[in-house]
């Protein structure tokens, strides 16, 4: 019956899934964490939560993913969910123009509530419905460029690019953290602090760096 308290990871990254209601966030989550897709999925109420542990550059990374409700009603309640998030998957539906037009609103939401260094990937989901497409890849690409986001079209139904989208976000986060750690290490050695000091990069996430990564 006892639950093992899980410390079997080098990093824990909190990622939020955001975007309009009905774009497929929950199915992206279930595809990534359980390799499942459910046509009968009900709309998310409040927030749902799942994790998956994977390897990034030889490190064990636990992705803690928060799937938030897309409906306007829940914004006030869900703002707390952005706290501590180091990555975001901003999802729209390639068959619904409105969901793409709202990407800017979601970006504003992120900038208001999340860490300014948050890594953002924009995902144009439902790429399997190409015949119903209402947002061109070029439009999305140019928006992503102007806003400084990564971008990918995905399909939770066909398991297309889901893995890759998360991998990319996690790798970006990892590299940012590593860079910070290295910079901190350099400045630390420059000021004469003995090498091997544990560097605190916890500002990225409450539980990140449970094991000191820079002790060598």
């Amino acid at each position: 019956m006892a639950y093992k308290v899980d410390h079997e990871y080098d990093y824990l990254f909190k990622i939020v899934l955001i975007g309009d209601s009905g774009v497929g966030k929950s199915n992206i989550l279930s595809r990534f964490t359980r390799n499942e897709f459910c046509l009968e999925s009900k709309s998310t109420i409040g927030v749902e939560f799942a994790t998956r542990t994977l390897q990034v550059e030889g490190k064990t990374v636990k992705a803690q993913i928060w799937d938030t409700a897309g409906q306007e009603r829940y914004r006030a309640i869900t703002s707390a969910y952005y706290r501590g998030a180091v990555g975001a998957l901003l999802v729209y539906d390639i068959t619904k123009r409105q969901t793409f037009d709202n990407v800017l609103r979601w970006l504003r939401e992120l900038r208001d509530h999340a860490d300014s260094n948050i890594v953002i990937m924009m995902a144009g989901n439902k790429s399997d419905l190409n015949h119903l497409r209402a947002v061109s890849t070029e439009d999305a690409q140019s928006l992503a460029e102007s806003e400084g986001l990564s971008f990918m079209e995905t399909s939770a139904l066909e398991a297309f690019n889901i893995e890759k989208a998360f991998q990319t976000v996690l790798l970006d986060i990892y590299q940012i953290i590593r860079k910070k750690a290295l910079a901190a290490q350099e400045s630390a050695s420059g000021t004469g602090v003995p090498q091997g000091t544990t560097i605190n990069v916890n500002n990225m996430s409450d539980n990140a760096n449970k094991k000191p990564c820079c002790s060598t």
């Binding site: 019956m1 006892a2 639950y3 308290v5 899980d6 046509l39 009968e40 999925s41 009900k42 709309s43 109420i45 409040g46 927030v47 749902e48 939560f49 799942a50 994790t51 803690q64 409906q71 306007e72 009603r73 006030a76 309640i77 707390a80």
Partner: protein, 413 residues
Amino acid sequence: MAKERIPNWLNSSLWSTTPTVDDRLHCFSLSPTTTTTTAAAAVSEPIVQPTVPVSPPAAASRPQSTVTSQKYEFRDPIDKNSNNNSNDNDQNASPSGVSPDDISRQAQLLAELSKKVVNFRELRRIASQGIPDGAGIRSTVWKLLLGYLPPDHLQWSSELAKKRSEYKQFKEELLMNPTEITRKLEKSAVDDQSKSESSGLLSRSQVTHGEHPLSLGESSIWNQFFQDTEIIEQIDRDVKRTHPDMHFFSGDSPLAKSNQAAAEADSFFCFVELLSGFRDHFCKQLDNSTVGIRSTISRLSQFLKEHDEELWRHLEITTKVNPQFYAFRWITLLLTQEFNFADSLHIWDTLLSDPEGPLETLLRVCCAMLILVRTRLLAGDFTSNLKLLQNYPSSNISHLLYVANKLRSQASN
């Protein structure tokens, strides 16, 4: 225009259990969600048309004595097609084994329902222990518990007829084709004109700016009409998508259609009654007030602290599981997403019949849910606890309700 579109029923006394805030009417109609409405459809269960006629296992076990002594027909008196009462959809999920307890409770309920005037205290007492699935009486009992049906049998059929036609009228009012609305507007405009300009001058007909199908103005009735239609279609698709096994929502025969119309009206009013105690949770503007969802979640947390401080401390202080992360859904959906449909019905039997009222009862059941998995929670960290509470394990509902009931006795002693 916006004012005129508020239908009469929104101002009805049904809604006025709590002090009125102007925003409430508006915020309540903001974003329709289909999630809670489906369980409310259970109030219409007897007129579900099963696709395949099967002989219900429970029909055999129905105590004959009570049926023969029955004076009043407790079935939906208007709907003559509801003879397959015991064939309703919640049978699908219920085990065929009927316990002696169920049979005796069923007999008591049937006896209560067949009285000329139903004794509410008695009905609540029996129903709070759960309404047996077999007899197909849940729909009637719920209608009574929610106050949709009056206690006096003689009034049932007229009351139902009245409500159903009222509902039909609401629908016509609300979902009126804009052509009709503009025609009426034009007609009244012309009437006004002819009154004021009877001096013999040629009347000029006004060119309407706002009201035509291509108008994009936010207040345009056409624009509103298209938006409404889209929402209705979306609800339709979502209900069929998320409840593919419920025949109530499908079926195109004239019989099925007329049943659906009556059931829709009944469900609507029952839903209104049910939500009268919960609607503040759905009002964003009230989120930070003492009646809003946040405050209800805090009450649950407080309640847990009173009954099991160790568990409360571990959950909220040690593992930092904010009750919002799970209880928001528990409370707003009245647990319908935490349990399967048949189990949800049993929980709702208790929510609707407990004399303390649905909200108090719900908080007790939620607290019992936490206490029932306390060993696991106490051994868990943030991740495992949140996963457990967001995917609550299937449970023995009778036991859950028993524990919830005990929480009350402790509090009052």
